[in-house]
Amino acid sequence: MARRIPTARKTLTTAAAWTTGLVIFFPILWIVILSFKSEGDAIAPPLTMLSAPWTTEAYTTVQERSDYFKHFWNSVVISVGSTLIGLAIAIPAAWAMAFVPGRRTRDLLMWMLSTKMMPAAGVLVPMYLLFRNFGLLDTRIGLVGVLTLINLPIIVWMLYTYFREIPGEILEAARMDGATLRSEILYVLTPMAVPGIASTLLLNIILAWNEAFWTLRLTAANAAPLTAFIASYSSPEGLFYAKLSAASVMAIAPILILGWFSQKQLVRGLTFGAVK
């Protein structure tokens, strides 16, 4: 029999959940509101701003001034490309670490994660020189490479924790039935870990989509993704809040929609395995 939960407690929990949700969503809501105001109204005190007339002027200006689809396409190529390559490297790596761990596997995992602790600015100049020498500055392929490397530790860690939840006996049984290593990973392990792999994929696409340090510093005119598109609307002399908000809404909309559609998958994956 299901446990009975008092109505008061249910109401309280619901209210708390809604409040938390709204607080987290509030900045995005504010950006959306600002994007539909004129520049003069957008910088006015909140109450005046809210009562000011609505307009799509900022969106029209942004559309006229920037090539949104070029930046959008760069974002898609960079985030999807880096995530897929990352997964292709991380799935075998995580398999090895989860099912045939060596003496130093734990140290190796910690060392991989430790690279995330270094401030990115610390390696900016060597990275920039490498990019220059290999002709990778302002290229999508260069950014795909660097984002793959940056997100690889997270991908390996996430997959490792998912794989550890899968009983090794199943893989052993597959081996007994004559499965090769390739078919063991492809046809036995991967289908069982689909929710974990899907959430890793989605989370890394989001991380790569939002990455703003390297994407701003290693690009110029050709490979600049949506982060550079947003950055171009900040102005030292002249009002820009409405245009900046409109550009931000246009930049986050695709990833927000993707997030909504894949919400179920994302939550299932995140609560599966040890990463909660």
Binding site: R65, R132, A224, P236
Partner: protein, 437 residues
């Protein structure tokens, strides 16, 4: 037509296209997002008509982002940019370091002698012009003529700080959210410190003496800050420690400021009836003085320069010549009107009778002429720059000192403590950088 002939013609066409493509040079221009720059991007057809072999690609970035991005590229000779938009702060430093290509060989029609002497002086290092000014600005007083009239006062063309204080007191009516004066308070070397450094020059203060020793422990800085805090606390808007150029612009346009002392470029915004509720009520005056021979106004020019790593110097020079010569000013005037012409770069613009009709034209010119970056303070100093000190360390030090002064305005610390902290941190950084032995 036989197949062979068709194939041959096709091959010729492809060859011709390839040749045309290879003859085209693409230059990348790094720029900030401001009205004049955006306007130029809309007028590129004129450039392409004159230079069909050059294609221009734009990279627009936020000011500080641009500075970091371009510094990395120049220092590593990345060659990502062919033309940079930089300010009067960077040009002397980068020019001296050999990071920029000299522009002394611009064609005779460019008429380099037509550039305003103060602006040209700020972009020249040891006789070499390292950047061509795209638009220049100083700072001046913008005030509400209607409020001054209602208070029975008139604003002199060249006011003193005491005139400003009296006007601010007369125009303040906090019950109507009407504040006598709006000034920058947001921390940053290019925000509150630009204003306060320029203001301090008129009070006889300076950043460093001839031995590079910081001067925040001297009386003139205390006088400057005391006067500034008095103005802001009594006649300024609430929360002024968060206000920079854009916040004050919005306040002034909404009719909440009696006066605003800031960049001359703001004049075109506050007199534009589309955005400003006080467009027809604004008067202009020179930045105030204290009777010591220096006014509290600054000098800045957003300029175009070529980084030493560029492989396309000729095309970059052609672009800079087009964007900053007299014909460009005439082009903007013909398409968008004289009020939208980039101001503050050429003497001939201010001699043009059409341009003289713009209400803020004369005051902008007088303000620019009143600033001397090579001789910015009452006493002699070892540095160049009116509202900044043109040394690489200044960005960091200026912002740290700006945070101290912003904190005083916000009421988080006392003036004496802030001045002591400013002195200490500047002394530490200058010693570390080797200026003080």
């Amino acid at each position: 037509m036989t197949f062979t002939l068709r194939a041959l013609l096709g091959a010729c066409a492809v060859g011709a296209l390839a040749a045309a493509a290879s003859a085209e040079t693409t230059i990348t221009v790094a720029t900030v997002n401001n009205g004049d720059m955006i306007r130029m991007q809309g007028l590129m057809d004129d450039f392409y008509a004159k230079h069909p072999d050059i294609k221009v690609e734009w990279v627009t970035l936020e000011e500080n982002e641009l500075r970091q991005r371009v510094t990395t590229d120049i220092a590593t000779k990345g060659g990502q940019f062919d033309v940079l938009t930089i300010g009067t702060y960077e040009v002397p430093i980068w020019g001296k370091q050999g990071w920029l290509i000299g522009l002394n060989d611009l064609p005779a029609e460019y008429d380099v002698d037509d550039l305003l002497p103060a602006i040209r002086g700020g972009l020249t290092v040891d006789g070499t012009l390292y950047a061509a000014p795209f638009y220049g600005e100083s700072s001046m007083v913008m005030y509400r003529k209607d409020l001054m009239e209602a208070a029975g006062m008139t604003m002199p063309d060249a006011p003193t700080w005491d005139d400003i204080k009296a006007a601010a007191a007369a125009m303040t009516d906090k019950s109507k959210e009407q504040y006598g004066i709006c000034l920058r308070g947001k921390a940053g070397w290019g925000e509150n410190m630009a204003f306060l450094t320029a203001m301090s020059n008129s009070f006889g203060a300076k950043w460093f003496d001839m031995d590079w020793k910081p001067q925040f422990d001297q009386q003139p800085w205390k006088d400057t800050l005391t006067f500034y805090l008095d103005l802001m606390n009594n006649y300024g808007p609430p929360g002024a420690s968060n206000n920079g150029f854009n916040e004050n612009l919005a306040l002034f346009q909404q009719g909440k400021c009696g006066m605003w002392i800031d960049a001359t470029v703001a004049a075109s915004f506050v007199t534009n009836p589309k955005d400003s509720t006080v467009a027809d009520k604004v008067g202009f005056a020179l930045a105030p003085d204290k009777g010591l021979g220096k006014r509290g106004n600054w000098l800045w020019a957003w300029s175009l320069a070529i980084p030493a790593g560029s492989q396309k110097v000729d095309a970059a020079k052609a672009f800079i010549d087009w964007a900053t010569n007299k014909d460009y000013l005439a082009l903007v005037a013909s398409k968008e009107g004289w009020a939208n012409v980039p101001p503050g770069t050429r003497t001939s613009l201010y001699e043009n009778p059409e341009y003289a009709k713009i209400p803020f034209a004369k005051m902008t010119l007088d303000s620019i002429n009143a600033a001397d970056p090579n001789n910015p303070t009452v006493d002699k100093v070892p540095y160049v720059g009116v509202q900044f000190v043109a040394i690489p360390e200044f960005q960091g030090i200026g912002t740290a000192v700006g945070q101290q002064f912003s904190a005083v305005l916000a009421g988080q610390t006392s003036l004496d403590d802030a001045l002591a902290a400013a002195q200490q941190l500047t002394l530490r950084e200058m010693t570390k950088a080797g200026y003080i032995k």
